[in-house]
C-alpha cells in the first residue's frame, strides 16, 4: 500500500461539489504533480490533507493508519508540510531562527543555545546540498533561497510529505534548477513531494506521476511518461462545455472605453483595447497574471505608470475610485467581503452607498428617495432577504454578490467591471448573475469581466482577451474561443 492514500474524498460547499470521489496515492520518495485549472479542486484537496478543512467524506490513510486531522497542527505532527505560494517566513529574523521556529533548542529549558541551532540548521541545509549562511536575515535572501529555507524548515520537523504550491512562480531559471535538484535529492532520501503548478513543462520535468483534476473530479492519473503538454491541457479543460449562454448583440456602436498602452509595474504591460456599449469583454489568464491589477488600474485604485484611458472619446484622468464612479464606472471586486460590502451595514444602506448624492437633499438622506431605489434593485436582482434591514453579514454569498451589483446598478453605470463575480456562489445564483450580465448588455452597459471559469467567459463574452505575466497574448472572438485556445495562450503554449 502506498505511503499516503486519500481515498474517495468528497467535499461539498453550499451549492457546489468541490471534490467528487477523488482518490490520490503517494509513495515514499515519489514526486506527484497535481494539475488542474483554477477552481478544479487542487487547493480544496490540499486543505483537507493539511487539516484546514475538516468536514469531508472519505479517508486519509498514512502508512497504513487512518487519520482524522481536526487542525493543521495535527497534520504537521503527522509529517505533512505545506509550503504556500506566498511564503510563511519571518523576514526580520535570521535563517536559522526561521528554520527552527517553534522548536528552538535551549539549555535548561529556556536559554537559547545558538551554537546548536546554528549547527542543526547548517546540517539540514547541507543534507539537501544548499549553501546559505544561516546567520543571514531572511529578508536579504532571494525568493529562491527563501523557498529553500521553507523546505529546510519542513525537514527540521521531519516531514515525510512536502506540498509545494506554485513554488516557481517568482523564481529565476537558475533558482528553479536548484529547487529541482533539492526536490530530487529529497525523493532519494524517501521524502515525498506533492508538486502543484500551472507550469506544465515543469511538472512534466520533475514529477514521477501526475494527477489531473477537473471540476472536482479526478480525470487522469498515471506515470509521467503517459503524458505530454497537449494531453494535459485537453484533460484539464475537457470538452463538455455548452456554449449557448448568449447570442452576441451588436445593437450599439459607441465606444465606451478605450485604453492605450496601460502600464502598472510588471503586472500590466502595454495593454490596449476598447469596449463598445453593450459589449461583454472577457479577460482570461491564470491567477497572478495581472487580471485584477488591470481592472484596478482602470478603476483608479492602482496608479497607472503609463497609458491613456479614454472614456466616451474623451481622454480622462482617473486618479481614484471616485473619479471612476463619476465617469460612469462600477467595480464588483474579487473579494466581496473585504472590498465589496460593508458587512455591518444592512442591505439597504449598502445598495445606496454610492448614490447618497441622489437620495439626499442638503446632505440629509430622504427615506422617500432611497426606498425607491432599494425596493427596485432588491426586486430586479431578486436579492432574497427577509427585509432590507438585514445586515449584509447574514446573507448568503450569492445574495451578497447581488447586493454589490445592485449598488453599482443604482449608479446607472456605463461600464461595469466584474472581477470573479461568480466566485464561491452556488449554481443557482450563478445562473441568475449570467442572466443579469446578459440583460445589462442589452441595456447598453459595457462589461469587462475577469473570470477563472473559462466556460463562463466563452459563454458570455463577445471577445476574450488572454493575458499572461501582465501582457496581452491574444484576443479571441466569441466564435473562435474555446478552452483549449485560451489555456494555450494563458500558459504560453
Amino acid at each position: 500500500m502506498s505511503y499516503l492514500v486519500m481515498n474517495d474524498i468528497t467535499k461539498d460547499f453550499p451549492g457546489v461539489r468541490a471534490l467528487d470521489n477523488v482518490t490520490i496515492e503517494l509513495e515514499r520518495g515519489e514526486i506527484l504533480g497535481l494539475v488542474g485549472e483554477n477552481g478544479a479542486g487542487k487547493s480544496t484537496l490540499m486543505k483537507i490533507l493539511t487539516g484546514l478543512l475538516v468536514d469531508y467524506r472519505g479517508d486519509i490513510i498514512i502508512d497504513g493508519a487512518k487519520k482524522l486531522f481536526s487542525s493543521p497542527i495535527e497534520s504537521i505532527r503527522t509529517g505533512i508540510s505545506y509550503i504556500p505560494q506566498e511564503l510563511n517566513l519571518i523576514p526580520k529574523m535570521r535563517v536559522y531562527e526561521n528554520i527552527l521556529l517553534g522548536q528552538e533548542i535551549s539549555d535548561a529549558g529556556f536559554i537559547i543555545n545558538y551554537k546548536k541551532m546554528f549547527k542543526v540548521s547548517e546540517t539540514i541545509l547541507n543534507n539537501i546540498g544548499v549553501e546559505i549562511n544561516v546567520n543571514d536575515f531572511v529578508e536579504n535572501l532571494g525568493t529562491g533561497s527563501q523557498q529553500l529555507v521553507e523546505i529546510a524548515r519542513a525537514l527540521s520537523i521531519k516531514s515525510k510529505i512536502i506540498i509545494m504550491d506554485e513554488p516557481t512562480s517568482a523564481l529565476t531559471s537558475q533558482e528553479i534548477e536548484k529547487l529541482f535538484d533539492v526536490i530530487s535529492n529529497l525523493a532519494k532520501n524517501g521524502t515525498s513531494t506533492i508538486y502543484i503548478s500551472h507550469k506544465l513543462e515543469e511538472v512534466l520535468t520533475i514529477a514521477n506521476r501526475i494527477a489531473v483534476l477537473k471540476d472536482g473530479k479526478l480525470v487522469g492519473r498515471g506515470d509521467v511518461k503517459e503524458f505530454d503538454k497537449n494531453k494535459l491541457i485537453s484533460m484539464m479543460v475537457g470538452h463538455d462545455v455548452s456554449q449557448e449562454f448568449r447570442q452576441s448583440t451588436s445593437k450599439y456602436q459607441d465606444v465606451i472605453l478605450e485604453v492605450k498602452n496601460l502600464h502598472y509595474k510588471d503586472k500590466v504591460k502595454d495593454i490596449s483595447f476598447s469596449v463598445k456599449a453593450g459589449e461583454v469583454l472577457g479577460i482570461a489568464g491564470l491567477m497572478g497574471s495581472g487580471r485584477t491589477e488591470l481592472l484596478k488600474s482602470i478603476f483608479g485604485i492602482l496608479r497607472l505608470e503609463k497609458g491613456e484611458i479614454i472614456i466616451s472619446n474623451k481622454k480622462t484622468d482617473i486618479k481614484n475610485p471616485l473619479d471612476a464612479i463619476k465617469n460612469g464606472m462600477g467595480l464588483v471586486p474579487e473579494d466581496r467581503k473585504k472590498e465589496g460590502l460593508i458587512l455591518k451595514l444592512n442591505v439597504a444602506d449598502n445598495i445606496v452607498l454610492s448614490i447618497l448624492n441622489k437620495v439626499s437633499k442638503f446632505g440629509i438622506i430622504l427615506n422617500r428617495l432611497q426606498n425607491k431605489y432599494i425596493k427596485e434593485y432588491i426586486q430586479y436582482l431578486n436579492i432574497k432577504v427577509a427585509s432590507s434591514q438585514m445586515l449584509a453579514l447574514n446573507l448568503s454569498g450569492g445574495n451578497q454578490q447581488k447586493t454589490v451589483i445592485a449598488k453599482w446598478l443604482a449608479t446607472s453605470p456605463k461600464l461595469l467591471l466584474l472581477d470573479e463575480a461568480t466566485h464561491g456562489i452556488d449554481v443557482g445564483a450563478k445562473d441568475e448573475i449570467y442572466n443579469l450580465i446578459r440583460s445589462f448588455s442589452e441595456k447598453g452597459i459595457a462589461i469587462i469581466m475577469v473570470s477563472s471559469e473559462l466556460a463562463e467567459l466563452i459563454g458570455l463574452c463577445d471577445r476574450i482577451i488572454v493575458i499572461r505575466d501582465g501582457a496581452m497574448m491574444g484576443v479571441l472572438s466569441h466564435e473562435e474561443a474555446n478552452e483549449e485556445k485560451i489555456m494555450k495562450l494563458a500558459m504560453g503554449g
Binding site: P14, G15, L322, K338, L345, S354, A386, M390, S396, G398
Partner: protein, 343 residues
C-alpha cells in the same frame, strides 16, 4: 435547492434572551441602578436637586463622549481631547481682557470681547482636531499615537499660557453658559441635549453620517464605493476638536476659572460612556444617542457612590472595573457576530 438559500442566519430574525440583553441590557441595568440607589439613599438620591445636579455634572463630559462616538464608529480613537479641553479653557479665560492669573499682578492676555474670545477658542479647537485628522489621514499614522502626542502638546501650551497657575477674574457675562438656568433647567444641560440631537441627526440621517459608518465598517469597500474617505475622516476629528473647545468654554464658565491641569476623569469617562452605550471599538457600530445612556449610567453611579460615602480611591477601582466589563462584553458580542472564520 439553490433557490432555498435565502439567508442562512435565522437567528438574526428571532428575538432571543441574549439579543435582548445585548441590545437593551444597559437600559435594564440603568433602571435597576436607579431603583436600588433610591432605596439605599432615601431622601438624598431621588430629589429634583440631586437629579439636576447629576445632569449638570455629566453635561460637559457628555458633550465629549457624544462627539467621540463618531470617532469610534469610524474605527478610530482620540486620546487628546481632554488636553484640548484644558487648553481651550485657558484660552477663553485669558482672551477675555479681565482675566487674572493668581499670584501675578496685572491682567493677562489680549483684550477682546467675550463673544470674540469664545469664537476664537472654538476655532482653536476645530483647528487642533483638523490638524490631528490631517496627520492621521494624509500621513497615515495611527490615531492613537498622533493623539497621544497632540495631548501632550495641548497640555504644554496650557501650562505655558497660564504660567502654570489658575486663571480667574472672568467677565460676569461669561458665567451664564455654565451657571445660568433656563426654564428651571441648567443651560449646560440644554446645550448638551441640543448637541446630542444634532450629532445623532448627523450620524443617522445625513450622507456624512452614512459615510462615517461605512468607513468604520470597511474602509476599503467604502473607498471603492466612492466615499471621500480622507475628507470624512479629517472632518470627524475636527468635530471632536470643536467639541473639546465647547467643553473647555463651558467648564471655565461653570467653575469661574480655568486651571491648566487636565480633568483627570474626562478621558476615561468619555471612552467608557461610549462603550457602555454600545459603540464598538472595532468600528462600524454605535449610536451617539445611546452614548447618553452610558454617560447617565456613569453619572448616576458616581453620584450614588458619593452619596453612600464610598471613598474616592474605591470609586476609581469600581469605575475601572465597569469599563473593563463593558469592553469584555463588547468583544464577546463581536466574537459571536463575526467569529474567527476558518475557511
Amino acid at each position: 435547492m439553490s433557490t432555498k438559500i435565502g439567508y442562512r442566519d435565522s437567528r438574526s430574525s428571532r428575538l432571543t434572551a441574549g439579543k435582548v440583553l445585548s441590545n437593551y441590557g444597559i437600559f435594564i441595568a440603568f433602571i435597576i441602578l436607579f431603583v436600588v440607589l433610591s432605596f439605599l439613599a432615601p431622601g438624598k438620591f431621588l430629589t429634583v436637586l440631586n437629579i439636576l445636579n447629576i445632569a449638570k455634572q455629566i453635561s460637559i463630559v457628555g458633550l465629549l463622549a457624544t462627539a467621540l462616538t463618531l470617532v469610534l464608529i469610524m474605527g478610530e480613537i482620540d486620546i487628546s481631547f481632554a488636553g484640548l479641553t484644558t487648553l481651550c479653557g485657558i484660552a477663553v479665560a485669558t482672551w477675555q481682557g479681565s482675566a487674572l492669573i493668581q499670584g501675578i499682578e496685572g491682567k493677562v492676555g489680549f483684550t477682546m470681547p467675550v463673544p470674540l474670545a469664545m469664537f476664537l477658542t472654538l476655532l482653536l479647537g476645530l483647528a487642533g482636531g483638523l490638524i490631528v485628522g490631517l496627520i492621521v489621514t494624509k500621513v497615515r499614522v495611527t490615531a492613537l499615537l498622533v493623539t497621544l502626542g497632540a495631548g501632550a502638546i495641548y497640555e504644554g501650551f496650557a501650562l505655558f499660557w497660564s504660567k502654570a497657575r489658575a486663571v480667574t477674574g472672568l467677565k460676569d457675562s461669561f458665567k451664564i453658559f455654565g451657571q445660568g438656568y433656563s426654564l428651571g433647567v441648567p443651560n449646560l444641560v440644554w446645550i448638551f441635549i441640543v448637541f446630542v440631537i444634532i450629532i445623532t441627526f448627523i450620524a443617522k440621517k445625513t450622507k456624512f453620517g452614512r459615510h462615517v459608518y461605512a468607513i468604520g465598517g470597511n474602509i476599503q469597500a467604502a473607498y471603492l464605493s466612492g466615499v471621500p474617505v480622507t475628507r470624512v475622516r479629517t472632518i470627524v476629528f475636527g468635530i471632536l476638536g470643536f467639541t473639546a473647545a465647547l467643553s473647555g468654554i463651558l467648564l471655565t464658565s461653570r467653575l469661574n476659572s480655568a486651571t491648566p491641569e487636565p480633568q483627570p476623569t474626562y478621558m476615561l469617562d468619555a471612552i467608557a460612556a461610549c462603550v457602555i452605550g454600545g459603540t464598538s471599538l472595532a468600528g462600524g457600530v454605535g449610536n451617539p444617542a445611546r452614548t447618553v445612556i452610558g454617560v447617565l449610567f456613569l453619572g448616576v453611579i458616581y453620584n450614588g457612590l458619593t452619596l453612600l460615602g464610598v471613598p474616592v480611591a474605591l470609586q476609581y477601582i469600581i469605575k475601572g472595573a465597569i469599563i473593563i466589563g463593558a469592553i469584555v462584553l463588547d468583544s464577546m458580542k463581536q466574537r459571536t457576530e463575526g467569529g474567527y472564520v476558518k475557511e
